[in-house]
């Protein structure tokens, strides 16, 4: 009989091999799925993974990976800090919306004022909006012990309703013939987060990279990083080591909220441009997956965010070039996650042929 045995230490080999194995397994399973749908499996897989990176139009798709990946990475970095400490913020989608609303509110309220300080003010407002929304579960947990998973999730729905109300009401473009949706922020040079649109470069991309570096430094060099890890692995030991759980909770939730808020703000002021009813495209939830795919490691998250972006960009290409239905792409992404989650097992455990007496 096969049984699992916990490794004394996570396997270094599997740490790197697991994602590769998972991607290969997904390609095989996905290929079977595509073949079943009557599409050429090799061409399909190649379109999804190869075309965005190396086709003749790669010069266009590569920057698109940055645009698609940046919010995922930015949010996932924030979430990973909390996840390491055992603090589960799954309401990043709501914080993303609130950041976007707060940031956009600054520019829209001041319109048509043009000033150099508007964009910085939007950045601050966006971060604060996300932070404040995340502090609700933070404070409720700290004060009453309310489960942050559930509170943060509930607040996503509240934020979504608020977004719809804003797009249809307060923030509606007065020159938009009554259609829902705000003025286009990306067309206001003083309020846009774009730096160079063709290169896929906006402030969110830079912030995402900065967040990766900051998180890396924090986790490997800083005392707070050590406390976060300790709190997650051995809560009781952490308390003895002088970690204040309340402060840690507030720090982790606040940081992840602020980063999610920033991501939303950069998105609304750049790639998206408009506060619309369905402005949120699920980045907050996808980022949770990205955080785990990257095994809560900053560099890993960067890679996972780009991989996820690749499947989106490549998936859309496969839809138009090969006529693959969107549903097949969704299933394919789901499979990728399943495999990555499943093979992760081998990082911390090994299979062992158990003898009778051991069982």
């Amino acid at each position: 009989m096969i049984r699992l045995e916990k490794r004394p230490e996570p396997s270094r080999v599997w740490n790197y091999a697991a994602p590769v194995v998972a991607v290969i397994a997904t390609m095989i399973a996905g290929g079977l799925l595509f073949a079943f749908l009557g599409k050429d499996p090799v061409a399909s897989i190649k379109t999804i993974f190869w075309e965005p990176l190396f086709s003749e139009f790669a010069f266009y798709y590569r920057p698109q990976l940055l645009i698609k990946g940046a919010p995922l990475v930015l949010i996932a970095i924030g979430l990973s800090l909390g996840f390491r400490a055992g603090i589960w913020n799954i309401g990043a989608e709501g914080q993303y919306i609130m950041g976007a609303l707060s940031g956009a509110a600054v520019a829209l309220a001041l319109y048509p004022l043009e000033a150099w300080w508007i964009f910085p003010a939007m950045v601050i407002a966006g971060a604060l909006g996300g932070w404040a929304w995340a502090m609700i579960p933070g404070l409720l947990k700290a004060r009453f012990g309310a489960n942050e998973i559930l509170v943060s999730l509930m607040l996503v729905y509240v934020a979504e309703k608020l977004l719809a109300a804003m797009a249809l009401g307060l923030m509606k473009n007065p020159q938009g013939y009554g259609f829902p949706g705000s003025r286009n922020l990306s067309q206001m040079p003083w309020a846009t987060s774009w730096i160079n649109q063709n290169a896929g470069l906006h402030w969110g991309v830079l912030f995402a990279i900065a967040a990766v570096i900051a998180a890396y430094v924090l986790l490997s060099r800083h005392l707070l990083g050590f406390q976060i890890q300790l709190a997650g692995q051995a809560p009781r030991a952490a308390r003895f080591a002088g970690v204040n759980p309340t402060r840690l909770t507030l720090f982790c939730l606040g940081t992840s909220g602020a980063l999610a808020g920033l991501a939303g703000m950069f998105e609304v002021a750049g790639p998206s441009g408009i506060v619309s009813i369905d402005f949120n495209a699920g980045y907050g939830f996808t980022a949770i997956i990205v955080a785990f795919l990257g095994r809560l490691n900053p560099i890993g998250i960067l890679m996972a965010g780009l991989l996820m972006a690749l499947t989106y960009v490549g998936g859309d290409i496969a839809q138009s070039k090969l006529g693959l239905p969107k549903a097949a792409i969704q299933m394919f992404q789901g499979m990728l996650l399943f495999f990555l989650l499943a093979v992760d097992l081998f990082t911390n455990y090994r299979l062992k042929w158990a003898t009778k007496e051991a069982a």
Binding site: G178, E267, S272, Q319
Partner: protein, 357 residues
């Protein structure tokens, strides 16, 4: 900036390549906001796409991407289609407006067609349908058929398109039956079958025996069927499987003639940027068969109304008409201009309740 030049060169190079390679194959792209299987808005646009394929056979190649979120994803998908040699791209949701304009700037040789928007460019046309013309006929039939004199109306979002439909239906229902009353419920969704079913049930419970809908699922039809003596109209697609009762007629989005005409224009090299707002006359708005439940005289009146609208001899918004607050809107014989209709944000006199703000 270098990249944008690169984009343009690639497009030109590719344009040359495709014309050299397959001179007679026109590539048409479609960007859809929902899944092609939504049974409503996107479904009908996809029917239009299939009609283009059927019409031109080997001379045309169509591609589409479904469920594209409005925003950067839409822009990417359009660019990708243009890069891959699309000659004509239909973008079928209001929220694609700014992305369409952006991409069109980068690809001056590709033609774009944006549905329901108001921004145009040299290579961007806009098109929309005068669904309110169909609503007028619905209103007339509804006014004649109701026994309780209460007509329920399921709205999606309080935007001009929907408000226009309510006004048009109300004006003609009132003409047919002065005692008629409208009950309006806002679902705040385009598509949520369960919620639409609830909304229909609520209206029926409150005495409505006709339910009009401006949301896309067949859920209200099923609710009406379960309730018994309630009539409905198909929305977006014919919903014929619910006829002859509860569904007694329908408004059908028929994009096929337009899509075929525009594809033809690109093939012939006669394409120009236009703003199209077509109705029953041009066939963009179809009136589904009026079922046997409707008495012959009512059916004849409805068809006469349809013909009058189609020929242009009658405009559904013809004065004298007042706004809800009692102020004058249109003088006797005056018809509404398209600008007012496009941005309509008020009810006409007689409708109760406020438009949510």
């Amino acid at each position: 900036m270098k990249l944008s030049k690169l984009l343009a060169t690639a497009a030109v190079a590719l344009g040359l390549a495709t014309t050299a390679m397959a001179q007679d194959k026109t590539k048409v792209g479609f960007v859809f906001v929902g899944p092609v299987g939504d049974g409503g808005w996107t479904y009908e646009h996809n029917q239009g796409r299939l009609a283009v394929e059927k019409e031109f056979g080997d001379k045309v190649e169509t591609v589409f991407v479904e469920s594209v979120p409005e925003g950067p994803d839409a822009e990417r998908v359009m660019t990708q289609m243009a890069l891959e040699g699309a000659d004509l791209i239909f973008t079928t949701s209001f929220g694609y407006m700014d992305p369409t304009i952006n991409v069109a700037q980068k690809f001056p040789n590709v033609k774009f067609e944006h549905a329901t928007g108001y921004k145009r460019a040299d290579n961007v046309s806009t098109y929309s349908a005068r669904f309110y013309e169909g609503r007028a006929i619905q209103g007339h039939i509804a006014g004649k058929m109701t026994k309780s004199n209460i007509i329920g109306y399921i709205g999606s979002y309080p935007i001009p398109e929907v408000i226009r439909g309510i006004n048009s239906a109300y004006i003609h229902a009132k003409k047919a039956n002065p005692n008629v009353q409208f009950k309006i419920v806002w679902a705040y969704t385009w598509f949520d079958p369960a919620k639409e079913a609830d909304a229909a049930k609520v209206l029926i419970e409150q005495g409505a025996d006709i339910v009009l809908q401006h949301t896309d699922s067949t859920a209200p039809q099923a609710a009406a069927q379960a309730a018994g003596n309630v009539y409905t109209f198909g929305q977006a697609s014919d919903m014929a499987s619910f006829g002859p009762k509860p569904r007694i007629s329908s408004i059908i989005d028929n994009w096929a003639p337009y899509y075929i005409a525009r594809t033809k224009a690109v093939m012939d090299g006669t394409w120009t940027s236009v703003d199209t707002w077509d109705g029953i006359g041009a066939g963009m708005v179809g009136i589904g068969e009026i079922s046997s439940e409707v008495p012959d005289d009512v059916k004849a009146e409805a068809l006469a109304l349809k013909d009058a609208i189609a020929s242009g001899s009658y405009h559904p918004f013809t004065g004298p008409l007042k706004k809800q607050d009692g102020s004058d809107w249109l003088k006797d014989g005056e018809t509404a201009d398209d600008g007012t209709l496009a941005g309509m944000n008020f009810y006409v006199e007689g409708i109760e309740g406020d438009i949510p703000q």
